[in-house]
Amino acid sequence: MPILIELFLTFVRIGLFTFGGGYAMLSIIENICVEKKNWITHDEMMNVTVIAESTPGPIAINCATFVGYKKGKVPGAVLATFGVVLPSFIIIFAISMFLEGFLEITWIAHAFQGIKIAVGILILDAALKMIKKMQKRPLQVGILVAAFVVLMLVNVLKIHVSSILIMLASALVSLTFFQINRFRRKEGQV
């Protein structure tokens, strides 16, 4: 089978069978692309995981693009990425046709009232897990707390400040502290 078609079909399969988000997908990609197909090495897989954590966007997309480019340059990257997105696109598009009508059924509306509460817990838990894993130096903790307080105020007071603005401000603060520290270290050496 030509490699481009094989890339596409493999990532369609990966896209179809990964419930539970990016990290669940990583182990399936590792299993198929490293162990079964030998498309990339284990080290490269580790590398792409690190890159995926430092770049925006879904981890699955990062991996698909990486493996696709590796095996088939730009056409490979396009086909692998397209393949990994296609199954969920079709499923969600189908759901979007009838979800709102569905929600008018009384017992389903009740179920979703319960589900809404679970989602809040899941989001809060995602943040708590990230806090557990992060480095807790004063700068990081300071930025985290400041971002939390600002976004809470924005939400409660219903003013419109985009999260992107808060993120850019945080990047700027972090960069400024980095420069100051660098400057101090140089002074110290003289």
Partner: protein
């Protein structure tokens, strides 16, 4: 125009969602609420649907919102937009800038972004929970919702003490659905 709004909105989401699926939720909420496309309740429902179907959460949300607001073309535009930044950034890093992420300035920026994202997700989760329990609207506090929140939290965190991996997100969503049907049905 709706298509242009979808394109720009989801390009922003794709470009700034550092830190995985849940990092995209506050950004998507921003875009959706700013345009008045959905309310917090519908966003919660869609997060649950996305958790229970295959594929990355932010891609699922983009497809749904795109389809809801602009039909098939809207779904294609929003999905493409949310994927494109990640696609190009990986190509750039592999092709041109292999050491970009090791650059100390890039590292400093990433440190700021990642810490901020955690605070932003924390605030979104906390606000959604407070909203569910009726602390944020005029209708007053919703005792039933508070009790369900406490109950689900005990089950979710309690399960981790019993089993190593606890309950999966889909598991919690299923339990919550049953609780919703039973509690609100009677």
């Amino acid at each position: 125009m709706i298509y242009l709004d979808l394109l720009i909105g989801f390009l922003e989401v794709g470009l700034f969602s550092f830190g995985g699926a849940y990092a995209a939720i506050p950004l998507i909420r921003d875009v959706v609420l700013a345009h008045g496309w959905m309310d917090d309740e519908m966003i919660s429902y869609m997060i649950a649907v996305s958790e229970s179907t295959p594929g990355p959460l932010m891609v699922n949300l983009a497809t749904y919102i795109g389809s809801n607001k602009g039909g098939l073309l809207g779904a294609v535009i929003a999905t493409t937009a949310v994927v494109l930044p990640a696609f190009f950034i990986i190509l750039i890093i592999m092709g041109l800038a292999k050491t970009l992420l090791k650059n100390p300035y890039a590292q400093a920026i990433l440190t700021g972004l990642k810490s901020c994202v955690i605070g932003v997700i924390l605030a979104t989760g906390a606000y959604m929970i407070l909203g569910n329990c009726g602390f944020m609207n005029e209708n007053g506090i919703d005792i039933t919702a508070i009790l369900i929140t406490i109950g689900l939290a005990i089950v979710y965190y309690g399960a981790r003490k019993v089993r190593k991996n606890g309950i999966s997100p889909i598991g919690l969503i299923c339990i919550a659905a049953v609780v919703g049907v039973v509690v609100y049905g009677i």
